[in-house]
Amino acid sequence: MSAQPRTPGLALALALAALLVAGCAAPEKTRYGDAKSVETLTNQFGSTDLQMIAESMTRSMLQAPVIVSGNLPIVTVQEVRNKTSEYIDTRSITDTIRSELQKGGKVRFAVDAVGMSPQIDEIKRQQGEYYAREQAVEKGQMVGAQYRMEGNITSIVKQVKDTKDVYYKFNLQLWNIRNGLLEWSDEKEIRKTTTRG
């Protein structure tokens, strides 16, 4: 025996309530936006911060003497340490910096520590019995970097009542691998303040 509402009045009320709930739910609307616009949804690290840091660092590095000399220096990307209290994909920042520099044609990049494993795997694979010997890459032909790029991002967060202030400092350095000299370094500071009400 199925559970039926005892009176037609109750059934009608339930149906009306269901309709009301369905009607109250706001219809979803999805639109494409401008990926380059200023994003201020929250004061957490966002797309505008990433873009500003990457652009600022790239343009500054393009003026470094080792790059202006025009010898197409070979750089490897090392870690950007995240010393903030929030999760930031620092690899995404260095990826953008690397793309911008590579497109500018002033710098070449050597495989970094993260890319080393797939690089070796591919060399080993090509040296297997399934590949033509004359076309397979040889071991010991990779070119080492002359410079390594590393950095860190720190933040200071302060909150008083309804005001939250976040200060980010991104520092990037270019080190000469041969002699250990710091060839270039620059910083980008960002301050964001959110007030409620």
Partner: protein, 142 residues
């Protein structure tokens, strides 16, 4: 005769000193590329190089200067807020090659806070040596 030569020398020197600075190279003004455009003052240069997109802002550059950093174009723009309120704007540069095409993809908008009655210099360098010209684009973030 001696007086004539002396007068001619003075006139030549006066002529040299009255040559406006920044107009020495054809197709450039204050070091910035101008192409065939007629630029005879800083205002002309600002009008040529500055554009507005989106909401208009009252912030305007008062001075722009360009130089070379290796084979890249280096730009300084002095922005002025002569109002008595803090202004928030966003800006970006657009890079143009010798053929008038885009030399680089569109930059991201960079937010900027300008205190009341203040000046601020924004500077940049072109991302590629293909960039032969530029535009500074401003919009209000109020």
């Amino acid at each position: 005769m001696r007086w004539t030569i002396a007068a001619l020398l003075v006139a030549a020197l006066a002529g040299c000193s009255s040559t406006p600075k920044g107009f020495e190279i054809p197709g450039q003004a204050f070091g910035c590329p101008t192409g065939d455009a007629k630029v005879s003052s800083m205002d002309d240069l600002v009008k040529l190089k500055v554009m507005s997109e989106g909401r208009r802002t009252t912030i305007q550059p008062t001075e722009m200067r360009c130089s070379r950093s290796g084979d890249l174009l280096k730009i300084d723009a002095n922005l002025n807020n002569d109002s008595s309120t803090v202004k928030r704007i966003a800006y970006k540069f657009r890079w143009i090659d010798r053929e008038g095409m885009r030399a680089w993809e569109e930059e991201n908008w960079k937010p900027l806070l300008m205190y009341e009655n203040s000046n601020l210099v924004i500077n940049t360098v072109s991302p590629t040596n293909r960039a032969a010209d530029f535009r500074l684009i401003l919009r209000s973030q109020e």
